[in-house]
Amino acid sequence: MSVLIDIVLAILAVYLALQSLMAPRLSQSVFLFFAFGLALALTWIRLGAVDVGIAEAAIAAGFLGVLLIDALRDFSPAVSEKQEGADGTSADRSTKDTKSRLLPSLALGLGLGLFLLIAVEAIWHTPKGGGLTALSEAMLAESGVEHPVTAVLLNYRGYDTWLEIGVILMGLLAIFVAGGVEVYRKPRVLVRDPLLRQVILFFTPVLFLFGAFLLYYGKSGPGGAFQAAVLWGATGILLHLGGWPVFAVIPRWLRQLLLTLGLGFFLLLGFAFMAGGAALFEYPPAQAGVLILIVEALAALSIATALAAIFAYFNQMKDEPNEIESTT
C-alpha cells in the first residue's frame, strides 16, 4: 500500500512540474506550481524528513506562492492583452513553430531521458554507506539538543547553517540591487477592508505563538529556526497586506538590526568562545542547549524580517519608486 502511495506521489510530482512548465497561461502555471510544492512536501514527509516537509510547504508553496501571485497581478493586464490579441492571428505561425521546434525538442527529450535512465541506474547501484545517523545520535548528549536534525544544523555543522543565514541576507541585498528596474511597475491600491483587518489582527498573535512553539519544539522534534521564521515572516506579510506597513514605521537602524541579528550574533558568539580558546561555533556542552535556542530565536527573527522585507519591498517599490536608499 505504501509503495502505491509513493509511486502515485512520484508520478504526481513530475506531472505537476511538467504541467506547470507547459501551462498556456501564467495563472495556471502559478497554481500548478503551488500544487507541485505541496506534492514535494508530501514526498519529503514520506521520506521521513518532516522538517524539510514543513519548510518545503511553508517556503516553496507558501512564501513563493505569495510572491508569484503578487507578480502575477502586475503581469496580468499586459499579458492578457497580448494573449487576446495574439490568439486569433497567430494560429498559422504556431503550427509552423511546432514543426521547426520538433527536432530540437525531440533531441533534448531523448538526451534527458537517457540522462534520467543513467541516473536511476547509478542510484540503484549506490552502495549503502549507512550515513552518519548512528554517529550523530551517539553524540546527542554533548550537543545540548535532543533532536538529531537540530544537532546537525546548529551544532555539528553550525558553520554551514551560519553561511546559509548569510545567503538569505544576500538574497535580500540582491533583490534590492536588481529592483532598480522600472518595467512592469504600476500603482497599487491598498485593501482597506475592515473585516480583513480584524481577521489579520486576530491571527497575528496566533501565528506568532505557533512560530515560537515550532522554534522551541525544534529542540526535541521536527521544527526549528527556518520553520518558525516562515510563520513569523507570514505575520509580517499579513500585517503589511492589512495596511500596517511595519517596515515603513520602524526606524532604519532597527530594521538593519533585525535583518543582521541572526548572522551577527551567531558569529560574535562564535568569536567570543574562540577568544576563550575554543574553535569557532564550539559551545560547552552544559550551556549548548540554551545558547542554541538563543541563536535559533535570533536567526528566526532575522530570516522572518528578510522574508517580510522582500514582500514589503516589492509593494513599496510600486508605491514610491525611489526607496532603495532608505531600505538598504
Binding site: 550523530s136 548569510g166 540582491a174 574553535a279 561555533f281
Partner: protein, 511 residues
C-alpha cells in the same frame, strides 16, 4: 588529518569579511564605502598573515564546532589553499582601492553604488571559505554564497543589459550548483561521509562513483564557464561595472576550477580514466581557440576582454590530461607532473592579475569616453599613456610573452605536454597565443594611431590608472618567486600524494 597544527586563522578568514559586511549595512552611502574599504584592507592583511603562517608552520587546520569529521567540518589551509587565498588578497586589495576611487568619482552622478561593499565582502568570505573547505557539502554552501553575491554584483548597475545577462548567469549558476549537489548526494549515499580526505579513502569504483564524477564535473564546468558552457560569461562579465568585471573574471571563476582540481586529484582517483582526462582537455583546447577567435572578432573593448577570459580559462582545463596518467605509467617516471601543476597555478595567478588590470583599464576608458568601442581608442597613447602601458603589459601576459607570468604558465604547459608525449595539445596552445597576440595588438595599434576625429576625453583620477598599472606589473613580478613558490606548493599533500591517487586509478580505470 586532525593531528595537524590548529589555528584560529582559517576561521577568521571567513568570519572577518562577513562581520565587516554586516557592519557596513548600518551605514549610509559614504560610511558604507569607508567601512567596506577598511574591511577589505583588514581581510587582505589577515590573508597575508595567514599565508606567512602556513609558510612557517605548514598546513593549518581549524575544526569547526570542535567536532571531528565526518560529523563536523574541518577547515584546512594547505600551501595550495594559501596560494589561492594570497592571490585573492592581492588582487582583491587592488580592486578594492580602485573601487573606492571609481565610485567616489561618480558619486555626484548617482554612481556611488554603496551595496558594492557588503556584497564584495560576502563574495570574499565565500572565496576564502571555498579555498579552505574540506567538505563536499560545505563547498556547495560556499559556491552558493559566491554565486548569489556574484550575480548581485553583476547586476549592480541596474541597466537592462546587465539584468538580462545577470539572469542568464543566475540560471547557469543554479544549474551548475544543482548538478554538483546531485553528485554530492550520490557520494554521501555510497560512503556516508562528506569529508574530502575520508572520501578519498572510502570511495570505491562503480557506476555510482562514475556518475557522481560526471555530474560534479559538468556542474563545475558550467560554473567555470568551460567550453561549451561558456555562453553566460561574456555578456555577464562585459555588462558589469568595471571593478565588478575584474572581480568576476579574476577571482570568481577560479573558485570552481579549484574545486575541480581538488576533487579530481583527491577524491575521484579511483574513477578517472585516461579518456576522461583527454575529454576535459579537449574542452579546454576548444575554449582556447574559440574564445580567442571570438575575442578577435569583437568591436567593443570589454567584450574582447570577456571572451579572452573564456580562452584563458581553457588553458586551465588543459592541465587535466597531463595529470591523469596513461595505463602503465607510474608517478615516479612521470616527470612532467610538476610542470603541469606549475602551469596550472601560474595560469590562475597570471590571468587573475592581467585580466583584472585589463578590465580596470577598460573601466577607465569608459569613464573617459562614455563607451568602449575599439574604433574610438585612437590617440589613447598620448591621452592616457599609463593606461596604454597597463593594457600593453597585461596583454603581453595574456599572450604569454617572456618575462610575464603568462609566459611562465604557457611555457610550463608546453614543457609538460612534450615531456608527457601528448604532443597533440601543443597546436592549441600555440594557436591560442597567436590569436591572443591578434586581439591585443589590434587594440594597441589603434591606441598609438593618430586621432581621426575630435572626441572629448573626460578627466579620470590618476589613482585609477595607477592601480591598473600596478596590477599589470604584478602579473610580471609573480615570476620572481617561482622557485620558492613551486617548492612551497610541493610540500602540499595535493602535490605529493594527491597525484599518487590519480596514478593508481588512472592505471586500470573502471569499466
Amino acid at each position: 588529518m586532525t593531528d595537524l597544527p590548529t589555528s584560529p586563522l582559517p576561521a577568521l578568514l571567513v568570519g572577518l569579511p562577513i562581520l565587516m559586511a554586516t557592519l557596513s549595512l548600518f551605514f549610509r552611502t559614504r560610511g558604507k564605502a569607508l567601512v567596506g574599504l577598511v574591511g577589505c584592507l583588514l581581510t587582505a592583511g589577515l590573508s597575508f598573515i595567514a599565508f606567512a603562517e602556513v609558510t612557517r608552520r605548514g598546513t593549518l587546520i581549524h575544526i569547526l564546532g570542535g567536532w571531528d569529521p565526518p560529523l563536523g567540518i574541518l577547515l584546512r589551509m594547505d600551501p595550495l589553499a594559501a596560494v589561492f587565498i594570497g592571490m585573492t588578497a592581492a588582487v582583491g586589495a587592488f580592486i578594492s582601492l580602485y573601487a573606492w576611487w571609481y565610485f567616489r568619482a561618480q558619486e555626484s552622478t548617482g554612481g556611488a553604488f554603496p551595496l558594492f561593499w557588503p556584497l564584495w565582502l560576502f563574495l570574499w568570505a565565500g572565496l576564502n571559505g571555498l579555498f579552505l573547505s574540506n567538505d563536499l557539502f560545505n563547498l556547495f554552501v560556499t559556491i552558493e554564497v559566491i554565486g548569489i553575491s556574484a550575480v548581485a554584483l553583476a547586476v549592480l548597475s541596474g541597466k537592462v543589459a546587465a539584468l538580462f545577462a545577470g539572469l542568464r548567469y543566475l540560471l547557469a549558476a543554479i544549474a551548475g550548483s544543482m548538478a554538483y549537489l546531485f553528485g554530492v548526494a550520490l557520494l554521501y549515499g555510497s560512503t556516508g561521509t562528506l569529508d574530502i580526505g575520508l572520501l578519498g579513502q572510502a570511495l570505491e569504483p562503480g557506476p555510482a562513483t562514475t556518475f557522481a564524477l560526471l555530474v560534479i564535473t559538468l556542474g563545475l564546468m558550467i560554473k567555470t564557464a568551460s567550453f561549451p558552457f561558456h555562453f553566460w560569461l561574456p555578456p555577464a562579465h562585459s555588462s558589469a561595472l568595471a571593478p565588478v568585471s575584474a572581480l568576476l573574471s579574476a577571482l570568481v571563476v577560479k573558485g570552481t576550477f579549484y574545486i575541480l582540481l581538488r576533487l579530481w586529484t583527491e577524491v575521484f582517483g579511483v574513477s578517472l580514466t585516461f579518456a576522461a582526462g583527454q575529454l576535459i582537455g579537449l574542452a579546454g583546447a576548444a575554449a582556447v581557440i574559440w574564445g580567442s577567435w571570438q575575442a578577435f572578432m569583437q568591436t567593443n573593448l570589454k567584450l574582447v576582454v570577456a571572451h579572452s577570459s573564456v580562452a584563458q580559462l581553457g588553458y586551465l582545463l588543459m592541465i587535466f590530461p597531463l595529470l591523469v596518467l596513461a595505463p602503465g605509467v607510474t608517478a615516479g617516471s612521470a616527470d612532467w607532473l610538476s610542470s603541469a601543476w606549475t602551469a596550472g597555478v601560474y595560469q590562475v595567478m597570471a590571468h587573475a592579475f592581467a585580466k583584472s588590470s585589463f578590465f580596470l583599464s577598460a573601466g577607465i576608458i569608459i569613464m573617459a569616453l562614455g563607451h568602449d568601442r575599439i574604433e574610438s581608442l585612437r590617440d589613447l597613447a598620448t591621452r592616457m599613456p599609463m593606461t596604454v602601458m597597463a593594457m600593453g603589459l597585461a596583454g603581453v601576459s595574456l599572450i604569454g610573452l617572456p618575462p610575464s607570468g603568462g609566459f611562465m604558465a604557457k611555457w610550463m604547459l608546453l614543457k609538460g605536454i612534450f615531456l608527457s608525449g601528448q604532443w597533440w595539445w601543443a597546436p592549441a596552445v600555440l594557436a591560442g597565443s597567436m590569436l591572443a597576440a591578434g586581439y591585443v595588438f589590434r587594440i594597441l595599434r589603434l591606441a598609438f594611431a593618430p586621432a581621426a576625429e575630435k572626441q572629448t576625453w573626460r578627466p579620470v583620477p590618476v589613482a585609477l590608472q595607477l592601480v591598473a598599472l600596478l596590477l599589470a606589473l604584478a602579473s610580471f613580478l609573480i615570476v620572481f618567486p617561482a622557485d620558492y613558490l613551486v617548492q612551497f606548493l610541493e610540500s602540499s599533500k595535493i602535490f605529493g600524494s594527491g597525484v599518487e591517487t590519480i596514478v593508481e586509478g588512472g592505471g586500470d580505470g573502471n569499466y
